[in-house]
Structures are given as C-alpha cells and as structure tokens.
Symmetry: C2
Subunit: 322 residues, 2 copies
Amino acid sequence: MKHIDVIIIGGGPAGMSAAIWCKRLGVDHLLLEKEEKLGGQLTQIHNEIIDYPGLYAKNGKVMQQEFAAYFHNAGCLYRLHTKILSIDASSKTLKIQQENKIEKLHFHYLVLAMGSGPKLLEVPGEREMIARGEVYSATADRYRFKNKVVAVVGGGDRALEGAILLADADAAVYLIHRSENFKARSQYVDIVTKKENIKIITNTRVTSIHGEQCVTSIDLLNNKEKAFSLKVDAVFLRIGSKPNSELVKSLVKVAENELIVTDRIGQTSNSAIYAIGDICTNPLFSSIASSNGQAAIVAKYLSLLLTNEQTSKHKFISKFKP
Amino acid sequence: MKHIDVIIIGGGPAGMSAAIWCKRLGVDHLLLEKEEKLGGQLTQIHNEIIDYPGLYAKNGKVMQQEFAAYFHNAGCLYRLHTKILSIDASSKTLKIQQENKIEKLHFHYLVLAMGSGPKLLEVPGEREMIARGEVYSATADRYRFKNKVVAVVGGGDRALEGAILLADADAAVYLIHRSENFKARSQYVDIVTKKENIKIITNTRVTSIHGEQCVTSIDLLNNKEKAFSLKVDAVFLRIGSKPNSELVKSLVKVAENELIVTDRIGQTSNSAIYAIGDICTNPLFSSIASSNGQAAIVAKYLSLLLTNEQTSKHKFISKFKP
C-alpha cells in the first residue's frame, strides 16, 4: 500500500493552499479531489472578488484559474476524479476510487478540506428542482428574471443581497424567512424594506415546491399554522451552508452545526486528523483569506511534527503549540 | 475630536488586509502607519514569495507594490508618517503625531497590527553596528562577503538558511548558537554540518561586538565560562523576532514571549482591542496568508458588532462567537 505523509481531502482554496505549503516545506503530500477540476466552491462565485489582498479577480472562475496555475507551478501532487470511499482512522488508511479503480492509501496525517455546500429545505419538490438544473446565481442570472416572479428563501446576507439584485433587475421578489428578524447586515435590511418590488414574508416556511418542467408554485406555512401558496418562476435557496462533514462524523468530533471541531492549529479530536476551511469554519467568518491562513498553519505544524518525529526532539514539539 | 469606528495601527500585510476588509464591509476605518510607506516587513523579504496562493512575487518589494495597489484601488483610508504617542483604553482615544502635528482620535474598536522586528542580543557594540547600517540580508547581500569572514548568530531556520547562503557565496561562516541543539529543520542542520566553510560553535553566546567604522571582531563566552574572540567582517543576527507590543503592554494581556494574547477571533483581554498578524502570532506559524486570514476574521466580527450595536440584536452577537 502506498504511504503518503500528508493526505489532503478536497481541492478548494483551503486544500490547494495546504498542498502549496506542503510542497514549499518539503512535505510528502497528496491532494485528492472528487471533481474533474480543482477550485471547490470558487467557480460558484459570480461576483468580483475584492477581498483577497494582492489578487483581484472579476469572478471566482478567474481566481480558480490563478490558484490552479499557482498550484501547478509549485509542483503540488494531486489526483482528480477521486472519491473517498472510507477512512479508517485506526489503521490510517483511506479507501479511494479513481475512475473504476479502487485503491488503499496509508497516511501519517490527514487534512480534511472538503468545504461546505448549500443547506437544503428538505421539502418535496426541492431535489427535483435541483436535478432539473434550476439552481441560479442572483448575480449572474438575475436579468433572465426580469418581469418574472421569484422567491428568495433565507434571512442572512446572501438572501437579502440576492433579493436586492433580483429586484434591481426588475423581478418581483418574495423574500421568505422563517423567523421574525433578519440576520443580514442592517444596510441590506434597510434596502429590502424600501424596495417596492420586494414583498417580505417573515415567520413563514416553504413546505413544498411544485412544477414539472420548471418551478410553478410553492406552498408555505406561517407560524400561525396558516397555509397558502404563491405562483413563482424560480426559487433561490439562501438558507445557509452545510459543512461536508458527513464522511468523517464518526471519526472526529463534530459540533451541532456539523462543523468539525478543531483547536487553533487545526487539529481535530483525533491527533492524526486536521481540518481547514469551510468544513470547520463558521460561515460568518469564512473567506478565501482565512482558509489559506489555516492551511499555512496546519502545513507548518505538520512539517514540524514530521521533522521532529525524524529527529525525536520531542521537547521542542510540546513547546511550540500555542 | 474625530471619531473613527475602527482604527488599525500598522500598515503591514495584516493591517492592510484589515483595512481592505473594513472597506469591503462598509466599516468606517483608518489605518495608521509610522513609516513613509505601507508594507511593514514585506520590503525586507529578499527571497521570492512562493506561499501566497494566487500571487507569485519575486521578492517582498514586488508583493508590497501589489498589496499597496490593491489597498489604494479599494479606497482604504490611511495616514502615513503617523506615530502613536499614547493609547488611552478607558476613554478610547489615541494621541498621534503626524509630522509636527499632535492630534487625538477617538475609536470604537482598535486593531493592533504593529507586527514584529528582529530580536537583539542586547550586548555592547550591537546598537552602534545597526546605527552604522551594518544590517544585511543573506539573500541579497551575500556576494559582497565572498572570501570574508562572517558570524551568523542563531539556531533557527533563518540562521541556518543564512549560513548556507553565505557559505555558498564563498564566505567563511561562524554559526554561533547559545544552545546545544538547533531548532531549524533537519534538512538545514544536515547541510550546515557538511559544509567545510561553516564552523559551528554551539553552547556559546556573543558578549560584545567591536569595530569603529565597521565590525572587526566579536567576543564570545561558552557555557564552560571560557571567553574568546573571533575576527569577523560582519555579524548576521538571526536570533528570532520580537513582537512590537511595547506600547500596549499595560493595556492588554501579553504573554511571556511578548506576544499579545488573543482569542480565536483576535480579541485581546480588552474587548475594544483586537490584534492580528505577527504581534500576536508565534513566529513558527506566521505567514502573509495567516495574517490576512486573521484580518478578515477580525474585520468581519467588528462589522457584525457595529451592525448589531446599531440594531441592538444582542442575542445574535452572543451566538456567533466561536
């Protein structure tokens, strides 16, 4: 069985940065990505990226290309199309599948960087809608909803920002939120309350999404148990994100919100397993910059651990952990 | 007195990133930098920077220019040549001096990003040597020491890397370390022990630096109390770095190593004061990437605090702190 000192699962910004740092520090590493290309959630960012100091990108795709070029120039080791079938923490082995080939890999340290994905309502019709491809970006797709009726579901920044963008593109917007108060920043709340083509529906949940070829209506239920329906042409789900921690739930401590619990270095409850990026970061504090920062710290720490294991300067290790 | 919601002290990568994030989040901010330009320690990096994913820079000066351009494009607010004379935490005021003008500023939140500087030996002749400009980069200045004799003082990565670079440039190198074992990574230790023109002197301290126009010799003392001298043409101090926390020692909790103590958000022992970057980060884990990550998190947190103070959704605040 092939042994690799540090196996990184996930090829988004966090995982790519970890591999770049491993390479720079001379750490034997391998990054595994299930998709056909690197970049993770980057390619789903349709706005310009103006918060990664030193590198402006007009959208996530551009940044994905810059990161991938950097990653390849650095000479990082990786495999695409590679699915993790199982992780055995006690024997430190992964069972992976690449194309049709199943293989086992042995690791010394594992870095979880699988990121997060959108949270779902878990109501009838939702998965069918997604399967039909009716998943839109408010930034990139808003003009196709001019003079149409859309529902934006959620109460955070992304929901309100989406509602504003769609309203500005002359869609009629229902902004549907299950609670009384929005969590979004106050500037957004001020704007949505003033827009004539945004109708705010609070204390109300979506219970069903209808439509055959495309979405036609939704069912709702408010907190007074009143049920009603709305005709809509599209549903924008903006109820938050969900860390992709399913695979490792039984291996490491996971919080109620499904985020992996780590210390300040990135170590999980299992001392051989580390986590970085959106899989362990409150979405409020998630950013490309902070994912990269976490990756740098974990890689430096693992490099020191591996060096010290070789030279057995154990006293040094115990000293450097903050 | 002028009020600013978030005042950032220090214009290195951490401070610049914090300002960029404040600007992006619509937070009223002002960055204060004592030098004539932004960039902090970046300009002292003479090697290529290959660990900031997405942006390769052939040296720190290039990265400084990229960061400064990004900072200016973002429209961040700042003042150069601005010295902090004092900080009064109870009244939340700073007394600053810009050119000859002394002024007071009122802040809501203060972000300390003053970075770190090289640690000194604190021995006779050292400050005179620095004042004469005898401070060299092993990367940039090594060739001027061909066939000369140099002392490199320290036992970490930077000391050993410097000794190797100088030896490769045909200098005769004394590598002087006060302890028995090097803290540097084992690859470096392997190399220095093999180089014929590196003489390793362990368990020995430098007690004095001599020279009028330039360094001519150093006095040393080993752990058996034996004193001796060495003729050298230059001294490279590589004994580590020291956080620039002097000014705030009485305001916030500072650890034995002079690093400011923060929680995972960046909050210090004073809830109105935050710290980011090298002033609060173990040098082993310091990087441009992690400074930026910390800056993003602090700025997001302060943005949420400021928004919530306006709208008094205090329950929300207590929930989002990790």
